[in-house]
């Protein structure tokens, strides 16, 4: 009887894993079929105003990259503070706050940025979108930097100090270098996550039908446009939304897999 229960249990567990995998497969296959079907070269050559996705893809990447340019250094330096300099309660407090912020609702961050960078400014603008994305990125980078630095053995730091190096040199020349790969993975994973976000952009930088690098106005976004297109009644809009979804997912998964690839040997 016990053995029977055990067998049922094992079967259920394997079944759950299959369900999980099943959903993944279902979603990816759906994307593939729908997306691949609507995919053609003109999507990459035309902007949304002409039925293409070029401006959206470029726009999304620009938003993500600039958000990264802000969020990554800020997050890393903050992470360094928490792990290397912080003593006692304040550093632990910031670490906890950062962890909580990591799970904060993205729409609320969008609302915040709307209130401080859109409403007073007079309208949607790319800067606001970038700020929103970087706010989301910072806690993730802090968390990953902190974790990776904690894995560096303390003897390495001591060896640097013992040679007469000052603390910041030890951190920059030795500790960061030693944690380099893990930090890179963390950055790539965070970047992949930010690149796929919609809610923070919805009413900050919104989107645009035209090709633009002008951050002072509403800025083209692949994710926001998918949302808009999916809400339009025309079949052509829907097809475009699928093609865009496919491209977005491919982009995000490639960055994600790249991040995991570089740490593949380190586990």
């Amino acid at each position: 009887m016990r053995l029977l229960i055990n067998k049922i249990f094992l079967a259920l567990s394997i079944f759950s894993a299959t369900i999980g995998l099943g959903f993944l497969a279902w979603i990816l296959i759906t994307l593939f079929i729908q997306g691949l079907g609507s995919l053609h070269l003109s999507l990459f050559l035309n902007d949304l105003v002409d039925g293409g996705l070029r401006n959206l893809i470029v726009g999304q990447l620009i938003l993500a990259l600039l958000a990264g340019a802000i969020g990554i250094p800020l997050g890393m330096v903050a992470g360094i503070y928490i792990r290397e300099y912080g003593r006692g309660k304040y550093a632990a407090f910031i670490r906890d706050l950062s962890d909580i912020m990591m799970s904060a609702p993205s729409i609320v961050i969008g609302a915040f940025v709307y209130a401080v960078a859109v409403r007073p400014y007079g309208g949607a603008n790319g800067f606001a979108g970038i700020i929103a994305l970087s706010i989301m990125m910072i806690p993730i980078i802090i968390n990953t930097t902190d974790s990776m630095l904690s894995l560096v053995p303390k003897e390495l730091r001591e060896a640097g100090i013992a040679l007469g190096a000052s603390k910041y040199r030890v951190i920059l020349d030795i500790v960061i270098k030693a944690a380099k790969v893990g930090i890179m993975t963390g950055i790539l994973l965070a970047f992949a996550r930010i690149a796929g976000e919609t809610a923070p952009l919805l009413f900050t930088s919104e989107t645009s039908n035209y090709f633009s690098v002008d951050l002072t106005e509403s800025f083209p976004s692949l994710t926001v446009s998918i949302y808009n297109l999916a809400n339009e009644p025309e079949q052509s809009s829907r097809d475009l939304a699928w093609a865009a979804s496919f491209i977005l997912t491919v982009m995000v998964l490639i960055i994600n897999l790249l991040g995991r690839y570089i740490t593949r040997n380190k586990k």
């Binding site: 894993a17 300099y85 910031i94 997912t249």
Partner: protein, 324 residues
């Protein structure tokens, strides 16, 4: 140079605190007009953007629960938006009305969809965690673990698309009712929090010391018994923490739910009815809202922020005490 670096890094770290305070303050200030206007009753008021007739004699009273102090009203005057209250002259009978906002429907929608998500995801996530931690061989565990993590990496808007066109019809077939509904949104939300719950649960389970497990096996226990009697009790706290943390995250999910819940400001009679959640309410209305309506949205955002913060903090401090 060393001092400079210390100062810069300290400032960056403090940025987190500044952001948190900034977000809370900004939300509060932006929500204040709605808070002043509706008070805490907002949370239990079902009406959203509804015109409510005002009996004309109220306009002459000094204070009423529904009129702000600043609006000293002259019977003949129609106050414009800047004074936080919209009085409209009803064309038919000339009664004055004002617009009322209440957050009950989105709040309930948020909570219910999250509960459905948890109920759906919990058993599956536990099963996956057990599979990864105890059943699968090293290679299979790596592969399946990776696949589950990929599921987590898929952007939420994709879940919305897939959910709307592929999953929703099936749910409607199986359960009747609308395709875009509380149920559909809840289930897809469940699929979205599945990887996270599985991962944290698996990590919790892996903290069980091998010697403990081995002692049980050495007594002849089956895998099921070891999981049930040794591993789960040992990692119970971490598992509960993961559930609460997943709850906190699910509360704030916007895009997938926006596609699937229906965005209708009405209390669902059945689980297969459409309704709305806080993030969806914000996502859908922010573009057009202004004045009191916009303030009401910020009020909703504030409620969500505080709620998420509280739940995530609970998970973190009470249950998930990770030693770093």
């Amino acid at each position: 140079m060393e001092k400079l670096f210390q100062k810069v890094s300290f400032t960056s770290a403090s940025l987190v605190l500044a952001l948190l305070l900034g977000i809370f303050t900004t939300l509060f200030v932006a929500a204040k007009p709605a808070i002043d206007e509706f008070g805490l009753k907002f949370i239990i008021d079902k009406r959203w953007n509804q015109e409510v007739a005002l009996p004309s004699d109220i306009l002459n009273a000094e204070t009423t629960p529904t009129i702000t102090d600043e609006a000293a009203v002259d019977e003949d005057e129609i106050i414009d938006e800047d004074d936080e209250m919209i009085l409209d002259e009803d064309e038919d009978d000339g009664t004055l009305t004002k617009t009322v906002y209440g957050g009950l429907v989105p709040i309930v929608g948020t909570l219910l969809s999250t509960i459905i998500a948890l109920a759906f995801a919990l058993p599956i996530a536990m099963g996956i965690a057990v599979f990864l931690a105890e059943i699968a061989t090293k290679n299979i565990s790596k592969f399946v673990g990776m696949a589950i993590e990929l599921l987590a990496a898929i952007p939420s808007i994709i879940f919305g698309m897939w959910g709307l066109y592929y999953f929703a019809p099936i749910i409607a077939e199986a359960f009747g009712g609308y395709q875009v509904s509380l149920l559909t949104a809840g289930l897809v939300l469940g699929v979205m929090i599945l990887p996270f719950m599985a991962a944290v649960t698996r990590d919790s389970m892996n903290t069980t010391p091998d010697v403990l497990k081995e002692s049980a096996y050495a007594l002849g226990a089956t895998k099921f018994e070891v999981v049930k009697d040794i591993i789960f009790p040992y990692s119970k706290v971490g598992i509960i923490g993961s559930i609460i943390l997943a709850l906190g995250r699910a509360l704030g999910e916007t895009m997938a739910v926006a596609f699937l819940i229906g965005a209708v400001y009405s209390m669902p009679d059945k689980i297969t009815d459409p309704t709305i959640s806080i993030p969806v309410a914000m996502a859908v209305n922010f573009g057009e809202a202004s004045g009191l309506g916009e303030s009401a949205l910020f009020y909703l955002g504030l409620v969500l922020f505080v709620l998420s913060f509280a739940i995530i903090s609970l998970a973190k401090f009470y249950f998930l005490k990770k030693a770093k």
